[in-house]
């Protein structure tokens, strides 16, 4: 069996074209068949049905109603849908308008105009049930835990309205229709697959939580079914779409694997051991029992959702597979629900459930499992390493078991090899681990898929605190409020204080604002490069623009967007940029290479209903790599048709694109550039005044002095504010008694001197006598030789001569070398390595004139 083929999902039209448009060359259909080739299961979705559509985030598929299905001239299958919005898709500030609690099952009839209603058929995941309800109605309690949605209100981007009677009835009608038609007709399902698949899901289920309470676990999986379903889909897609090692890995985690070929590596033992554990628990319940449990599921409350959540956080990406197996049962349950209403007899009901359940399971799970086989093998090595030590002691025992059972599982190993071929080299290097469950030898069926051995935290091991929250402890005493005018001024002048507005950057602000705004309105992407020396307000201006835009979206003037920011200096490696962007976008934590693939997928494939993303890349120059692939990708995405990505790149040098970027990168960056000039003294003056606002703490002249001084030096606003703050401190310090002192010119001058005076001259003046003589000796030697470099020996001789002239005791060579080393440590001198002893060469780190000036006065 070829595993790769099987996981393909085939979309084909249901029935003959109902209508055709000659002009547009479209053919319309009334339904579509979704067939998973592997499972040979088909599902028919008809016009008016409700469907789940893949979103950018695998956790959160969109809900929509199918309005139209057609095939265009290029034989692409299209669907026209009516969107429904989940509560999480509605902006936070608008959620408040609802004034009631929204259950996670509630969706809103979407009337927002901005979204593309024409989607590719391939993005449809599955059908789903949406029930229209009156505003006051509650979702029937028995439906609460089911995977269905209810709709009460419509949402037009600005406010919520009750459903109009027309829409209501239309939705109702659609529902009724759906009930009537059995939307899954299936053929041939081998009975052994049924049983094994059932077992498989069971095992997977309990491995998640590791309790014996099987029903509970099924429940938990069930409640998470929406997300998991789309996740499965997501990963399937990625896996099908060629190279995605990590996604494959995920799938494979779910694998039933017994291979005799596996080498006895330590890790294997771990897995095998865990496997073992699970098996012993899971194989106990009889088939009949299981059937009964399916019915029980209906009434038991969904308690374990949280458990599932927790798992998710603990195991990161690996938990997908868990859920995956759970999702397989989504449709049976819904159907079950339906049948519940109709069928009177309990027995019959049970039968129906079991039947549908089997069908679904039998057809679906094998489709997934073979592929997933290897993932168990390739868990990240770090995790494995953690456990190795623990399991080492159990190794020997495990080994025996392993050997005894390895024979029975040969058949699956050939498949194993098949799938190996397609795997990337990176993966190949890892040891492929297979599972042999010793107890499985009892089982007659060779094909019995083993469940994923879940890695469970063993008690007593210090584990990586994955869910640690980054937090600094709170202070025990409240922070003091500023008491005097000067303190108030100091706080206002701190660079961190966010001013009400940014003066002096109005023009730049407007340019950036217009750029982003136009792109937002157009729904396109673009890049802008912003340069300027440090402290000229680049980042502050961009943040201000974003704040304004966000305010505008709150007022519904602009379509909403997602804002994310990365900083090259806050990354340990340029490739970490992918990881951070992805995490900020979707909350997923993955490796850099995987993140790159996911992001490319996200930005390069048409995603319906995706918000525009505004990405600020600060300190762009640090994203430089030799191949420049990070920069290339960043600037390539906005040029993609569907990306809806706006990038604002910030760096210091104006000619960065020309200087360090390859042509293909700089060309993608485009020519939308802006450079921030250093502040002039007037602007600096305005900045200080606006920050101080009404606080009268500075003399006008004092402010002007600072501004002029800084403007002449660098135009760095940070420097300017720092000087002012220091001056305020000095002022505060000097005037302990009189409280209403304000900062004057003298304070400013003192602060400037403190910050900008060269320390060298002071350092020389405060040096000891011999150190000063040493400087003199150096100068004398330089003059004698005519070269600005001398050996210690030469200087030493000069030094002794000078000492004799002054009638001082001459120092020993050790003393001289110590002096030399001291001055070298201060970097007043530049020295060679000290191993050369007397032949070490000495140079001055300051000009001779400075030294002379410093020595002259005494």
């Amino acid at each position: 069996m070829d595993t790769r083929q099987q996981s393909k999902i085939i979309y084909s039209w249901y029935g003959k074209p109902t209508n055709s448009d000659r002009k547009l060359r479209t053919l319309q259909y009334k339904g579509i068949l979704i067939k998973s080739e592997r499972s040979r299961k088909e599902r028919c979705i008809q016009l008016g049905d409700f469907v789940l559509v893949e979103g950018e985030n695998a956790d959160q598929p969109f809900v929509a109603q199918l309005l139209d299905l057609y095939e265009d001239g290029a034989e692409q299958k299209h669907a026209v849908v009516q969107w429904f919005s989940h509560i999480s898709e509605i902006p936070k500030n608008k959620q408040k308008l609802l004034k009631r609690r929204i259950s996670s099952q509630e969706v809103f009839f979407d009337k927002v105009s901005g979204y593309d209603t024409d989607i590719a058929v391939e993005t449809i995941i599955d059908s789903v049930l949406v029930i229209p309800l009156r505003l006051k109605d509650e979702l029937p309690t028995r439906l609460k835990k089911e995977k269905i949605f209810c709709v009460k209100q419509s949402w037009d981007g600005k406010c919520f309205k009750a459903l109009s009677p027309h829409t209501f009835s239309k939705l109702n009608e659609a529902n009724r229709k759906e009930d009537g038609i059995p939307n899954s007709f299936n053929s041939f399902v081998p009975s052994d697959i049924i049983s094994s698949a059932k077992k498989e899901t069971k095992k997977a289920g309990s491995s998640a939580t590791k309790t014996k309470n099987v029903e509970m676990e099924i429940e938990s999986k069930h409640s998470a079914s929406k997300s998991s379903l789309s996740k499965k889909r997501h990963s399937l897609r990625v896996a099908n779409g060629i190279k995605n090692p990590t996604a494959r890995k995920k799938l494979e985690l779910n694998s039933p694997t017994r291979s005799p070929k596996s080498k006895l590596l330590e890790q294997e033992d771990i897995w095998a051991l865990l496997d073992d554990d699970c098996d012993s628990q899971l194989l106990k319940p009889t088939a009949i029992k299981r059937k009964v449990k399916f019915t029980e599921v209906l009434s038991s409350p969904p308690k374990i959702t949280c458990a599932n959540d927790k798992l998710k956080s603990v195991f990161g990406t690996a938990e997908d597979q868990e859920v995956l197996s759970g999702t397989l049962r989504l449709s049976p349950y819904r159907k079950l629900e339906d049948s519940n209403e109709k069928v009177r007899s309990l027995n019959m009901e049970v039968d129906a459930i079991v039947l549908t359940g089997h069908k679904e399971l039998g057809s679906q799970s094998p489709a997934v499992t073979p592929r997933s086989r290897r993932t168990c093998t390739q868990e990240t090595s770090t995790r494995i390493a953690e456990q190795i030590s623990l399991l080492n002691m159990l190794e020997s025992k495990e080994e025996e078991d392993f050997l005894s059972s390895s024979d029975g599982s040969y058949s699956s190993s050939s498949e194993e090899e098949d799938s190996d071929v397609s795997c990337t080299p990176e993966k190949k290097t890892k040891p492929s681990r297979m599972f042999s469950t010793p107890k499985s030898s009892r089982k007659p069926s060779v094909h019995t898929p083993a469940k994923t051995p879940r890695k469970t935290p063993l008690p007593g091991t210090p584990r990586t605190p994955r869910n640690a929250t980054p937090e600094i402890p709170r202070r025990s005493h409240a922070a003091q409020k500023p008491t005097s005018v000067l303190e108030e001024a100091r706080l206002r002048l701190h660079v961190s204080a966010v001013p009400e507005s940014l003066p002096c950057r109005e023009e730049e602000f407007q340019d950036i604002y217009n750029f982003v705004e136009s792109k937002l309105i157009d729904g396109t992407g673009g890049c802008m490069y912003i340069s300027g020396v440090p402290g000229t307000g680049k980042t502050a201006t961009v943040h201000e623009v974003i704040r304004c835009l966000q305010r505008a979206t709150e007022d519904d003037d602009l379509p909403s967007f997602q804002f994310i920011e990365i900083n090259g200096m806050k990354l340990t490696d340029p490739h970490q940029a992918y990881v951070q962007i992805l995490e900020l976008l979707t909350g997923q934590k993955v490796t850099a290479t995987h993140a790159a693939v996911l992001l490319a997928n996200l930005f390069c494939t048409p995603g319906p209903k995706r918000k525009t993303t505004v990405l600020v890349v600060d300190e762009l120059d640090l994203l430089w790599t030799r191949k420049q692939n990070v920069m290339y990708n960043l600037f390539d995405w906005p040029t993609q048709k569907h990306s809806k990505l706006i990038i604002l790149a910030i760096a210091n040098t104006m000619d960065l694109p020309e200087r360090i970027m390859m042509n293909r990168v700089s060309s993608r960056l485009g020519l939308t550039r802006m450079s921030f000039q250093p502040y002039t003294y007037k602007q600096l003056q305005q900045i200080i005044s606006s920050r101080l606002n009404s606080v009268k703490a500075f003399e006008e002249d004092a402010i002007q002095l600072v501004s002029r001084k800084v403007a002449a030096l660098s135009g760095d606003a940070r420097r300017c504010l720092d000087i002012c703050r220091r001056a305020a401190e000095i002022c505060e310090f000097s005037s302990q008694k009189s409280t209403d002192e304000i900062v004057r010119m003298t304070h400013i001058t003192q602060a400037i001197d403190e910050m900008f005076s060269s320390p060298y001259i002071q350092a020389i003046r405060n040096a000891s006598l011999h150190e000063q003589i040493f400087f003199k000796a150096i100068l004398a030697e330089f003059r004698r030789v005519g070269v600005e470099e001398a050996t210690v020996q030469q200087v030493y001789r000069q030094h002794i001569a000078l000492c004799r002239m002054e009638g001082m005791q001459s120092p020993t060579v050790s003393d001289i070398l110590a002096i030399c080393a001291r001055l070298g440590a201060c970097r007043l001198l530049l020295l060679e390595s000290s191993s050369k002893y007397l032949h070490m060469r000495v140079r001055l780190n300051i000009s001779q004139d400075d030294v002379m000036y410093a020595l002259k006065d005494d």
């Binding site: 200096m569 940070r718 050790s814």
Partner: protein, 427 residues
């Protein structure tokens, strides 16, 4: 008056602690202004939650760490500060790259990804975690964090200066209040900072310059040696203190101190000298005398290489003298063993009566001993091909050192001394 052993032990212990432990409560001399500035700065952080950054710059032994420790000690005693300040101490010599530094910061802050003493996660995760933690805080409610970066100049060489950028960036943005204090002896430290890092640094620099005059130096000397009033044996303390007072007025002591003061103004060298003197104090010899100090000074400021020369054999001395003459003749050009041997042979031939004529291998052996003592150093690495006799060498002694050592050399033959004075003396 009998001085008990216990009393002596206490004196020793007290003074040694004062002289050696620069982090103990030691007094600060001549840096009141810097003390006030730093205290004020840290108070702003802890009390008002204001972020700051500063560098303490001063030559080695000028009391940078002592100042900081003193300020921190005083700060911790304040009511508003108690339990209100998290401290992170890093040292450039220990945290040699950002990865290590980051782990250490996380560990010292006891963030939640620390279990026991281990920090989990990769470098990137740790950085993201720490930044996230600090970003979450705000001025009024988060506990201020003090970062002390000892040997600050070494952090500058970390890749991209990521750590410094982030620390300074936090100190300049509305996040958890932090204060970054760097300690360094390099005066050119600001030139080493990357422009973005430099812009984020507040440019507060606290200089420690040893800027005191000799009079203050003597007072420091006195205070360092005086016993405190709470010393149990009052009578002895009084006696000791009056002796110290006498010492400060003694001419020899003043000369010794003056000499040391001219050589180096830092207090560490003074402490070292006093340490040597204090170690001589015993029950039989209960008070420090001027000669103790003189002895200590001599010991402290001894020339290390000249010391080695004292232990050499006459043959080795002769070789050194030969090299000295070669240096004089060839103006410091390198020489090889053969040249030295020839020079030595010339001397032996003239003055055969005073020296036994050693054979060449013996002389070679003596020469190699000098090589091992690093009084002579080969210019290039010895290779297999070149013969040992012809390896080019340099003498690591100055003429003055040789002459001084000869003066003090016991039982040096007169002829050798004469030869040393002039290469032509045998004529």
């Amino acid at each position: 008056m009998a001085v008990t052993q216990i009393c002596m032990t206490m004196v020793q212990k007290m003074l040694r602690e004062r002289l050696c432990h620069h982090r103990a409560m030691g007094k600060l001399f001549g840096i009141d202004q810097q003390y006030k500035h730093l205290l004020e700065l840290l108070k702003q952080t802890t009390v008002c939650g204001e972020s700051n950054s500063a560098l303490i710059i001063g030559p080695r032994g000028s009391g940078k760490t002592a100042l900081l420790n003193r300020v921190l000690k005083d700060l911790r005693e304040m009511k508003q500060v108690k339990e209100n300040l998290l401290e992170v101490h890093l040292n450039g010599l220990l945290q040699t790259n950002d990865k290590v530094a980051l782990k250490e910061i996380t560990r010292q802050l006891h963030l939640e990804n620390v279990v026991g003493d281990k920090v989990f996660g990769s470098f990137a995760e740790n950085l993201a975690f720490l930044l996230e933690a600090l970003r979450k805080g705000n001025r009024t409610s988060s506990c201020p964090v003090l970062f002390v970066l000892d040997e600050f100049d070494l952090f500058v060489h970390h890749k991209n200066q990521t750590l410094l950028y982030n620390l300074f960036d936090i100190s300049q943005s509305a996040q958890t209040p932090v204060t970054v204090i760097g300690l360094t002896c390099r005066q050119d430290i600001l030139e080493l900072l990357e422009k973005r890092v430099k812009s984020r640094f507040s440019h507060r620099r606290i200089y420690l310059m040893n800027s005191f005059a000799f009079k203050q130096y003597i007072r420091i000397f006195k205070e360092q040696l005086s016993l405190p009033a709470e010393f149990p044996d009052k009578a002895f303390a009084q006696k000791w203190n009056s002796n110290i007072q006498l010492l400060t007025e003694d001419k020899t002591v003043q000369d010794i101190l003056q000499n040391l003061f001219h050589y180096s103004k830092d207090l560490r060298s003074l402490n070292f000298l006093l340490m040597l003197a204090v170690s001589n104090v015993t029950v039989r010899h209960p008070l420090i005398t001027a000669s103790d100090l003189q002895e200590a000074s001599k010991q402290y400021r001894m020339d290390s290489k000249a010391n080695i020369v004292h232990g050499l054999s006459v043959l080795e001395i002769c070789l050194i003298i030969a090299m000295k003459h070669l240096n004089d003749v060839y103006e410091g050009e390198p020489f090889n063993f053969q040249m030295v041997y020839n020079e030595f042979q010339k001397f032996i031939q003239r003055k055969a009566h005073c020296m036994y004529n050693f054979e060449k291998p013996v002389v070679m052996k003596a020469f190699e001993h000098l090589l091992q003592l690093e009084l002579v150093k080969p210019i290039e690495r010895p290779s297999v091909r070149s013969q040992r006799e012809y390896l080019l060498m340099e003498l690591l002694l100055d003429n003055n050192q040789i002459m001084d050592a000869l003066q003090a050399y016991p039982n040096c033959p007169t002829d050798v001394k004469q030869w040393a004075a002039s290469s032509l003396s045998w004529l």
